[in-house]
């Protein structure tokens, strides 16, 4: 299967890495590809350099549309504009407002972060200490989510530009954010960081995992430390481990995006554009696929729906 030689549009969906999050999105992409009878390819770059290289390759190959999750929006403008000049470019999951991209499909990581903060408040109404875990803090989505959590817990105003560098604790009158730990996507490290936090802070109140794989690792650590009843866990994204934890009542709740719909909507819009139909564009170029809070009430239904979406077996 190759080439934009036929009249069938060929569309590319470029991720910002190879996290499992994107596997769900891929399902959406493929589904939409079948539905709209377009040819789709999901590209998973290793890092910024690789993303640029691969986008250039796509442009060279002459695709009819690209939906990209920008690794570093502030500095990728020129690349994005170059792409926008030669094909239909939309952003998904991570936006680059100041570029020439046509529209953005996704949610607001900062608001999602604040939702996460609200979950922490629910879990720990009388306040306490909080430790945040994330893969890499320099990624925009990570930055915004974390800031959202912090601002919510410190009852600050909405301000996407604010940034508290990690290192020293942030004290509010009820909640104290002790620190933020990064694991560079090393799952083993993610778990041992959780363990170390547990042994370092015997009175740790709540642990927040901001990347999909963090919460399950945290849960593991807390289980093994036998502190399930003492330490609250708040999650992000929809790893099975996380949802299981919610069902079992070990994890208070999680904030989920909807990667599947990122895939579907991106392809739908790109197909329209490729076929010259601009009616598919959302108003003010932002198709908001809002994040949702998942707690014990709605976890069953959500998980069912998720399983339906991603039922087919791994792409071997």
């Amino acid at each position: 299967n190759s080439g934009s030689t036929s009249s069938i549009p060929s569309l590319a969906f470029v991720t910002n890495g190879d996290a499992s999050f994107w596997v769900i999105a891929e399902k959406g992409v493929n589904a939409a590809g079948k539905e709209y009878n377009v040819q789709t390819q999901v590209i998973k770059p290793a890092d910024g350099a690789d993303q640029k290289q691969k986008v250039e390759d796509l442009l060279a190959r002459g695709v009819d549309g690209i939906a990209i999750s920008c690794i570093d929006p502030d500095n990728q403008t020129s690349l994005l504009n170059e792409a926008a000049a030669t094909t239909n470019l939309i952003t998904q999951d991570s936006d680059a407002p100041q570029s020439d991209r046509i529209c953005y499909v996704g949610m607001d990581n900062y608001e999602a972060g604040r939702m996460c903060g609200e979950l922490v408040k629910e879990a720990m109404p009388d306040g306490g200490t909080v430790m945040i875990f994330v893969g890499r803090i320099e990624q925009l989505n990570a930055k915004l989510r974390r800031q959202g959590v912090i601002d919510e817990l410190l009852d600050r105003s909405m301000d996407r530009e604010r940034y508290d560098p990690p290192g020293e604790p942030l004290k509010g009158e009820k909640y104290t954010i002790l620190d933020t730990r990064t694991d560079q996507f090393d799952f083993g490290r993610a778990k041992s960081l959780a363990e170390e936090a547990l042994s370092l802070y015997p009175d740790l109140g709540c642990m927040v995992g901001l990347f999909a794989y963090n919460p399950p690792k945290i849960l593991e650590a807390v289980k093994e430390a036998k502190r399930l009843n003492k330490v609250k866990i708040v999650a992000f994204d929809e790893e099975d481990g996380t949802l299981q934890g919610i069902q079992d009542g070990h994890i208070h709740g999680t904030v989920v995006q909807n990667p599947y719909r990122y895939g579907v909507e991106s392809i739908r819009i790109l197909t329209g554009l490729a076929r010259g139909d601009r009616s598919v564009l959302p108003e003010d170029d932002f198709l908001n696929i809002p994040a949702r809070k998942i707690t014990q009430e709605n976890v069953e239904s959500f998980w069912e729906e998720l399983k339906k979406l991603t039922s087919d077996s791994p792409a071997t």
């Binding site: 090393d186 170390e196 042994s199 370092l200 794989y213 071997t316």
Partner: protein, 330 residues
């Protein structure tokens, strides 16, 4: 032995210092974790030590960890294999990988660096491909299996401290390896050919088989390690699981007194070397040093360790000559 002593002292110093700054460091819970991670990484280190002793190198360990760690849950959950079958498959594949490396190195005379570098790329790719990049995990089942990695055992007579199961696995492997290396003819063969392969061959030693064996051991321990890591972490991201672990394993072996020129190595040293790396990571958190400095500190400690070792060695030789001089003069 001297070298091992040196690194042991280093280990004690680091631990004492951290403990003095942060009593929590000495909590049973933390020590148990340190022991657990040391055991998991230590298994990899012991394996690669054998290849290093032959004068080779194995860069594929991390990818093998990723591959075998991905295969196990994949087979169990997606293909519904039985536990023995799935574990068997992981180990058989690791074995095959080791054989492949060994054959390419001994029969075609390729350089281990090149062979295993390609291995690093290929096995990672395979792992990502067969899993479709999807994170693999055991969910909440298989807890009895996961006990192998996460379980803890209280030994009679020792209060308040439980030994993680991986520690016993490491212990078994380490004892086996130490026996093999120091008391059997095969260990001696490895040491001999690591220093002077021709001499070994001329002495009638089946050098090719011994080298092959070393690569098999390395790959097998990596495969086993991969399984344990997967069980411990309970979710495996095929694209990143085990990245750079080969470097940790090699670094531990070097810290522990293996010479990359071949012919030298101590199992105890490797374990202590691993322990240092783990304790350092742990200490960095406990002394709330910015985690961005983690790599830098580990790197610094390794290089300083190696440098000190070298300087001490030289100084000793110098002293000896001078003493000898004085002695005979008088």
């Amino acid at each position: 032995m001297k070298k091992v002593l040196g690194i042991f002292i280093l280990l004690v110093v680091v631990m004492a210092f951290t403990a003095s700054m942060q009593p929590q460091f000495m909590s049973a819970y933390n020590l148990q974790n340190v022991l657990k991670w040391t055991s998991l990484y230590g298994i990899l280190g012991i394996g690669v030590a054998f290849v290093i002793i032959t004068g080779g190198i194995d860069l594929s360990i991390g990818s093998v960890v990723g591959l075998s760690g991905a295969i196990l849950p994949l087979m169990l959950t997606s293909y519904g294999w039985s536990i023995p079958a799935a574990i068997g498959l992981s180990l058989v594949i690791s074995l095959a990988i080791g054989l492949l490396h060994g054959v390419l190195v001994t029969q075609l005379g390729l350089q281990s660096f090149v062979v295993t570098l390609c291995g690093l790329l290929v096995y990672r790719g395979v792992a990502r491909w067969i899993t479709g990049d999807a994170t693999q995990g055991f969910g909440s089942e298989y807890d009895d299996l996961r006990w192998l990695a996460t379980g803890k055992v209280a030994l009679p007579g020792i209060e308040g401290f439980q030994f993680p199961v991986p520690f016993f696995i490491l212990l078994a492997i380490a004892l086996l390896a130490a026996f093999f290396l120091n008391l059997t003819i095969y260990g001696r063969y490895l040491l001999a050919l690591g220093r002077n392969e021709q001499a070994a061959r001329y002495s009638g030693i089946p050098t090719h088989w011994m080298i092959l064996l070393a690569y098999v051991i390395s790959a097998l321990t990596a495969g086993l390690g991969g399984i344990l890591f997967a069980l411990e972490i309970n979710s495996v991201q095929p694209s990143s699981q085990g990245n750079f672990y080969e470097l940790y394993a090699i670094a531990a072996a070097v810290l522990g007194g293996c010479s990359l020129r071949g012919g030298e190595g101590s199992i105890l040293g490797v374990i202590l070397g691993t322990a240092i790396l783990i304790v350092l990571k742990n200490a960095i958190i406990f002394l709330s040093i910015p985690s961005s400095l983690e790599f830098a500190i580990i790197g610094l400690v390794i290089i300083l360790g190696v440098i000190t070792d070298e300087i001490v060695k030289r100084w000793a030789t110098y002293r000896r000559t001078v003493k000898q001089a004085k002695l005979l003069k008088s």
